[in-house]
């Protein structure tokens, strides 16, 4: 697992209070991890802070799974 993926996972576990092994790449924040819409906004804010990237609203709306978040952040870092 990449560095970004590991950090994303850690943030998700902390923020949503879910078991680490549930946070798979295909896990959907809302459908699988019990997030509500406000949680997803907060997760995006936490990612922005942790990775020093800006995630505009239209991009944030496309980030629905753990994998979506990882690939968006990796694409920004490259």
């Amino acid at each position: 697992m990449s560095n970004v993926a590991e950090q994303v996972k850690k943030i998700v576990v902390e923020h949503l209070g879910v078991e680490a092994d549930k946070v798979t790449e295909s896990a959907s924040f809302i459908d699988d991890l019990g997030a509500d819409s406000l949680d997803t906004v907060e997760l995006v804010m936490a990612f922005e802070e942790a990775f020093g990237v800006e995630i505009p609203d239209d991009a944030a709306e496309t980030i629905q799974t753990v994998g979506d978040a990882v690939s968006f952040i990796e694409s920004k870092a490259n």
Partner: protein, 245 residues
């Protein structure tokens, strides 16, 4: 009770009667306060009379860029924002049939749209900190209506509806959103009324007197305090009984 030490507040319309009263009361409870308005000289004067723990940040709430810059500037000055008081407001009265588009637009812009934008800017930091207080100064006429004020009462009713929806969205994050609805409050404006006008107003107020800015400020202190933390989505009517809702 109602200690606001280390809380950081932004008060719009602090150059006006009620805003100054609210700013003074929050400050007296220990809050750090950023005063906003368009008149810089008046802001400086008020800041000087309050002493320490005070910042000023002028902003024109009919200008969207100026609105959007206000909360970040206040956050930078104070190191964050815990209490947002949307108090600035204008009237452009006219009977409905003569109401001009610009009278409608300017009142909606300053009284309602700027409030939306300031809340949007403030909420992010409050969500992160898992605490916050948003207080809007609406008006009794936003609930009862008043001839000659379709624009003003629409904007004030809009504030109430907006606050309720926002309150529901952020309640789980320990952020409360409420409005205060003053009745007739003695300010520079009401000083200009003659005795006859004053008398006729008072016949509609069971308490038999105009309210004071302190009456409104006390309500703001309560809603801003930790003790007021279970009150959200409410409109606190401070009107001497002129409307019991």
């Amino acid at each position: 009770m109602f200690d606001l030490t280390n809380k950081r507040a932004l008060v719009t319309g602090a150059t006006g009667g009620i805003g100054e009263g609210i700013a003074r009361a929050l400050h007296a409870q220990g809050a750090v306060v950023t005063l906003s308005g368009t008149r810089e000289a008046k802001l400086e004067e008020l800041a000087a009379s309050l002493g320490d723990r005070v910042f000023i940040q002028a902003a024109n709430l009919s200008d969207r860029d100026s609105v959007d810059a206000l909360v970040p500037a206040a956050e930078e000055k104070m190191g964050g924002l815990d209490i947002l008081v949307n108090n600035a407001g204008i009237t452009r009265d006219n009977i409905f049939m003569r109401m001009k588009d610009d009278e409608w637009d300017s009142v909606l812009e300053v009284n309602l749209s700027s409030t939306f934008r300031l809340c949007r800017a403030a909420i992010k930091g409050m969500m992160k900190r898992r605490s916050g207080r948003i207080i809007g100064i609406t008006s009794v006429v936003g609930v009862t209506g008043n001839p000659g004020q379709v624009n003003y009462s629409a904007a004030k009713a809009g504030m109430i509806g907006m606050s309720k929806s926002l309150a529901r969205e952020v309640a789980s994050r320990n952020i409360t959103v409420n409005t205060i609805a003053p009745g007739f409050i003695a300010t520079a404006m009401t000083d200009e009324l003659n005795d006859k006008q004053r008398e006729s107003i008072l016949t509609s107020v069971p308490a038999g007197r105009l309210g004071s800015v302190e009456d409104i400020a006390a309500a703001a202190v309560y809603l801003a305090s930790d003790e007021g933390g279970y009150v959200t989505g409410q409109t606190l009517h401070v009107n001497g009984g002129m409307a019991m809702i």
